[in-house]
């Protein structure tokens, strides 16, 4: 008999040893899943605890900002809790024709409502502070929603002892935590009105707008008419330095359809989410409507560009999600010069003298004037 071979002989026929040896196997065989579930439950519950702390912190930030900057007459706590739970029901998509207009309508109503709620708290506050409060509130309600969703699946998995729900939750937890972390980071930038990574588009266009007369073209959006090498430039960005994204879609539509300006080319500048491994602040060129969000603005720009057969050029600045919503990184700020050069080069190469060129700086213009 080999010395390492296991069997009764090795243990001197002692049944107790035998039992002790096989017990763990049996335990894992029959209760393995439960043990695993127990461990996953612990892990998810710790993550949920972290999310809860983030939620409390963000709620406090909202209240602090309102109390310190908007100086409301009454205690805003109750109203903040109400606004954090504010929901939007998206239009039904069973019959998708014309859905973009419906989405636009619902979103406009939502934004107006939130703005008016903040105004109601502090009637005589300036616009920059109101838009900052909106931004902070939006980040806080995102964190609130993430927390509630994770809590829902955690409790559901626990109550029904469903390991598959818990495993899925455990798998995506690191990403959820990172995203929540990014939102908490964003709060810091918002409350000090510092430019965020997403503001690079407005920053490039804002520089071109300096010392020119501005006109309102759509809600929270300004336009400037200037010239470059015999071309007429129409520059569009959201109104800064408040935290606005404006309505670039409506602005482009209005300029072309209502004001009847014949545009020969559209150049859009926006921040784009990078892939893992790409460098922050890298500039890339392409075609198409470079604009994120729910899709209303992109739809409008694509529609009018297609109808009028206007080429759409895009210049994007690569960054991660956390960079896009936190204080602008040096690499991104320094990319502005390169982007400006590319835009002017595009104007020279793709258009003729006397052409009308539309340049749109897309993004949240917090901390960036014009």
């Amino acid at each position: 008999m080999l010395p390492l071979q296991l069997g009764p002989g090795q243990f001197g026929d002692n049944t107790l040893y035998l039992l002790l040896f096989y017990l763990p196997f049996l335990l894992f065989l029959f209760y393995g899943q439960r043990i695993q579930a127990f461990m996953i439950l612990g892990e998810v519950s710790r993550a949920l605890g972290k999310l809860k702390i983030m939620r409390e912190k963000s709620r406090k930030e909202v209240i602090d900002y309102l109390v310190n900057h908007l100086k409301p007459k009454s205690d805003p706590q109750e109203q903040v809790d109400q606004l954090l739970e504010y929901f939007t029901i998206m239009p039904v998509d069973l019959d998708p024709s014309g859905i973009v207009r419906k989405i636009e309508h619902v979103v406009t109503v939502r934004n107006d409502r939130i703005r008016s709620e903040i105004r109601r708290l502090a009637p005589e506050t300036d616009l920059v502070k109101v838009s900052t409060a909106e931004n902070i509130l939006e980040a806080a309600s995102s964190i609130n929603y993430i927390y509630k969703l994770v809590r829902h699946f955690y409790l559901l998995g626990k109550r029904t002892s469903n390991i598959y729900i818990l495993v899925q939750l455990q798998m995506i937890m690191p990403m959820i935590l990172q995203e929540a972390d990014a939102l908490v980071n964003a709060l810091e930038a918002f409350k000090l009105s510092q430019p965020i990574g997403d503001g690079i588009g407005p920053m490039v266009v804002g520089r071109m707008m300096l010392n020119h007369e501005k006109m309102d073209i759509s809600k929270d959006t300004v336009m400037v008419k200037s010239e470059y090498k015999d071309r007429n430039l129409y520059l569009i960005k959201a109104v800064g330095p408040g935290g606005n994204v404006g309505e670039p879609g409506t602005a482009v539509e209005r300029l072309i359809s209502e004001l009847g300006v014949k545009i020969n080319s559209i150049i859009m500048i926006d921040a784009a989410l990078k892939l893992e491994g790409e460098k922050t602040g890298e500039v890339a060129e392409g075609v198409g409507a470079a604009i994120g969000g729910i899709g209303v603005d992109r739809f409008k720009i694509e529609e009018v560009a297609t109808k009028m057969n206007i080429p759409l050029y895009a210049v994007v600045i690569k960054q991660s999600l956390i960079d896009a919503i936190s204080v602008m990184r040096k690499e991104i700020a320094e990319a502005a010069e390169k982007v400006t050069k590319i835009v002017y080069r595009l104007v020279e190469e793709k258009t003729q003298p006397n052409d009308n060129v539309l340049i749109v700086g897309v993004g949240n213009t917090l901390g960036v004037a014009q």
């Binding site: 990014a182 000090l192 510092q194 430019p195 520089r207 990078k274 491994g277 204080v327 602008m328 700020a333």
Partner: protein, 68 residues
């Protein structure tokens, strides 16, 4: 797949936010820490050298470098 999961990015450590001012007259640049009320393209006083207008051209964050 790519559009669904973009890079969320690394966790940011402690950072200092700087304001970069530029004189429109002589082009002199000045880097200082951010103060509340600063925003990009704000006219911020006059240049000591040439009394040209000073403009804030950039506001950005840099990670705190570990002291050697």
């Amino acid at each position: 797949m790519a559009t669904m999961i973009p890079s969320i990015g690394e966790k940011r450590g402690k950072q200092i936010v700087y304001t970069i001012e530029e004189c429109l007259g002589c082009g002199e640049k000045n880097k200082r820490t951010f103060t509340v009320g600063d925003y990009v393209f704000k006219q911020n006083g006059q240049c000591k050298k040439c009394s040209g207008n000073i403009l804030i051209t950039m506001i950005y964050a840099e990670p705190i470098k570990p002291t050697q």
